[in-house]
Each structure stands twice: as structure tokens, then as C-alpha cells.
Symmetry: C2
Subunit: 201 residues, 2 copies
């Protein structure tokens, strides 16, 4: 058993990261609501006191899991919004979101969890990001049809990049997701090197 | 407070259905893992004993929620498999699944919940249904690309028919979902009256 005192030395960052990694794993297997701090403690052989040293609540831990993903999302959205043309903007959003989902498979679980979205939606900054992300995709067609299409593509990419598809190579999975998203949204594959580069990242 | 004795009379079917309806509502808002039998009891002003009269565990209640949906899914899959041609089969599966998701918005929540899919996947009959459903859509393209496309379409339709889109008319939502699915899978809208009828149902 690691004690809070032992963790409070120079291993503090590593311990924090291990807690986050185990939380991602348990959220992916049992959903957010189905994962307790006690389960995370048990998985690591920690006491609950050792966890409290880093995270007081499960919600704080969720924040730590979600924050870097949101930060990347914010960058992708900002880049997309600066491009000229509805199609180029949608394409950048699509390829960026697919890369994010493939690299962070917990997105599949968290994006679809009503307990998680309720919590995140209650924060203005997250709510605004989701709206901007939706708008970038929905503007290709406009109206409610465009909104539904955007929702299908985002939910579909999240869902299909989940733990069930762990057997497919990341680069292949990303390419298939982007192809499917483009067809669903009615986008043509751009020939610019920018998009090719972001697909390979 | 209703007592178990009071419920055991001719109101027994109604009470069972009310329990299921409240469960659907709470699963939709808080996820399956985030909903306890106690919460369901509180919502209805029942004692927990009254609920035990109908469902011993939350899992039994989930079964009661899921069973009629699975039964409809089984019918749609069976109908699709009897059609001639990969495209006709995929199109019937697509339109049928979209109708199911639009009419049972809890599908959006349950389909994406790892706690739920773990439980359902452990039953052979459900696992086999999912595989047949995936195959009907994946066969349009074949290989891993076809599988990913099928997964995007199924997860996308589930996700986009969830509680967030409660404001769109069901018939419109169904039409947009089917259009998006057809484009994603590379299906042309068929001209036969069969599909038109099922889209309007």
C-alpha cells in the first residue's frame, strides 16, 4: 500500500498520471457512473487517502481526464474556423475530431454518457465548444438536416473509435472514419497537403 | 407510498409498465450505472419492497426495458436477410434501425453504455444479433473499412436520436438519419414503395 506521505514526494506527477490512466481504463470498461474512487484505489493497490491527495472527488478526476482532450479540441476548432470555405472548415473539423477520437478511445465512452455530458454541459466553456464544433459540420448543409448529419458523424466517429475496434490499426481506422464522415456530410476529399498531413498525424 | 400488497392486484401490469417507463427516463438522464432501484422507487413514491415485487435487480429491469427493443430488432434483421441484394438488405436494416432508434430514444443511451453492452454481450443471443446487424451494413463494402462504416452508421444513428434531438419531429429525424446513413454507406435511395412506406411509419 502506498501512503499519501510517500506519494507527496517527487513521484507526485507520475502518481497523478497513473491515477488518470487507471480512471480512463475503468471509465472505458464500466462507464463514469459505474466507477468509484474506491475501485480506482483497489486497482492500484492504493488507499483511498492516497487518492484524496490528488483528487477529492470523481468529478475532479474526470476533469483531469477530459481537460487535455478539450484543449486539443479547442485548437482544432480554432484552426477550422480560420479556414476559408464551409467545406474546408468542415473537413478540418472532421479529420481533427477523428484523430482525437482514435488517439483517445475514452472519448467514445465519455461522449455518450449522459452523466458525463450533463456535468460538462453545465460548464459554459464546454457547452460553447460543442456548439462551435457542431456548427462547423452542420453548416455544410444548414438547417435541421445539417444538424442531424453533424450529430450522426460526431456520435458515429466517437462510437466507432471505441474499445470494440481496438484491433484495427490507428492510421487505418482514422482513414475509414474520415472517409465515412466525408461521404455522410457530402464533402469531397481535398487534394491539399494540409489535410493529408493532418490525416497522417 | 404504495405497498407490495396493493400492487399485487389488477394494477400489476400497469405498475410494471410504470416502473419500466421511469427506468427508461432515469437511464436516459443518469446512465444505467448511475441509476439505482432506490432512485426509481423515490421517483414513483414507492417503497423498495414494492419494486422487488416486480424486479429483484436493476439488471432484471434493464432486461424488461431492452427485451421489446431487441424483439423488434430481431424482426428487422430477419426481414433484411430475406431480401435479394446487398444494397437492398443494407437499406432495410438502415431504415429499420433508424425507426427503432427514433421511437426508443433510450437506445442512444444504452447502446453507448459500456456497463450495458458488457452485460448484453455476455448473452449469446444478443451478441449474435449485433453481429448479423453489423454484417448487413458492412457487406456493402466488405473488409475492415466496411465494418468501420457500419459501426459509424449504427453509433451515429443511436447517438443522434438521443434526448438532445427531442425538438425535431420524429418523421423528419428519421428521414435525415436515413439520408445520412445512405450517404455514409454509399447506398442510393431506392424507388420501391416498400422503403417509402417504412420511412413514413
Amino acid at each position: 500500500m502506498a501512503t499519501a506521505a510517500a506519494l507527496a514526494t517527487d513521484g507526485v506527477t507520475d502518481t497523478r498520471q497513473r491515477l488518470i490512466d487507471v480512471a480512463v481504463d475503468l471509465f472505458t470498461r464500466h462507464s463514469f457512473a459505474g466507477t468509484s474512487l474506491q475501485m480506482i484505489a483497489d486497482e492500484l493497490g492504493f488507499t483511498k487517502a492516497a487518492i484524496y491527495h490528488h483528487f477529492r472527488t470523481r468529478e475532479q478526476l474526470l476533469d483531469a481526464v477530459v481537460e487535455p482532450i478539450l484543449e486539443r479540441l479547442r485548437v482544432i476548432i480554432g484552426e477550422a474556423e480560420e479556414l476559408r470555405g464551409v467545406h474546408a472548415r468542415a473537413d478540418h473539423m472532421l479529420t481533427g475530431f477523428a484523430a482525437l477520437a482514435v488517439e483517445n478511445r475514452v472519448v467514445a465512452v465519455l461522449a455518450a454518457d449522459p452523466a458525463v455530458s450533463e456535468m460538462l454541459r453545465s460548464r459554459r466553456v464546454w457547452d460553447e465548444l460543442i456548439d462551435r464544433q457542431m456548427a462547423l459540420l452542420a453548416d455544410v448543409e444548414g438547417g435541421p438536416a445539417g444538424m442531424v448529419k453533424a450529430a450522426v458523424v460526431l456520435a458515429g466517429i466517437s462510437g466507432a473509435s471505441g474499445p470494440n475496434f481496438a484491433g484495427i490499426e490507428r492510421a487505418d481506422l482514422h482513414r475509414y472514419l474520415v472517409e465515412t464522415g466525408r461521404r455522410a456530410l457530402g464533402l469531397r476529399a481535398p487534394r491539399s497537403s494540409r489535410t493529408t498531413a493532418s490525416e497522417e498525424s
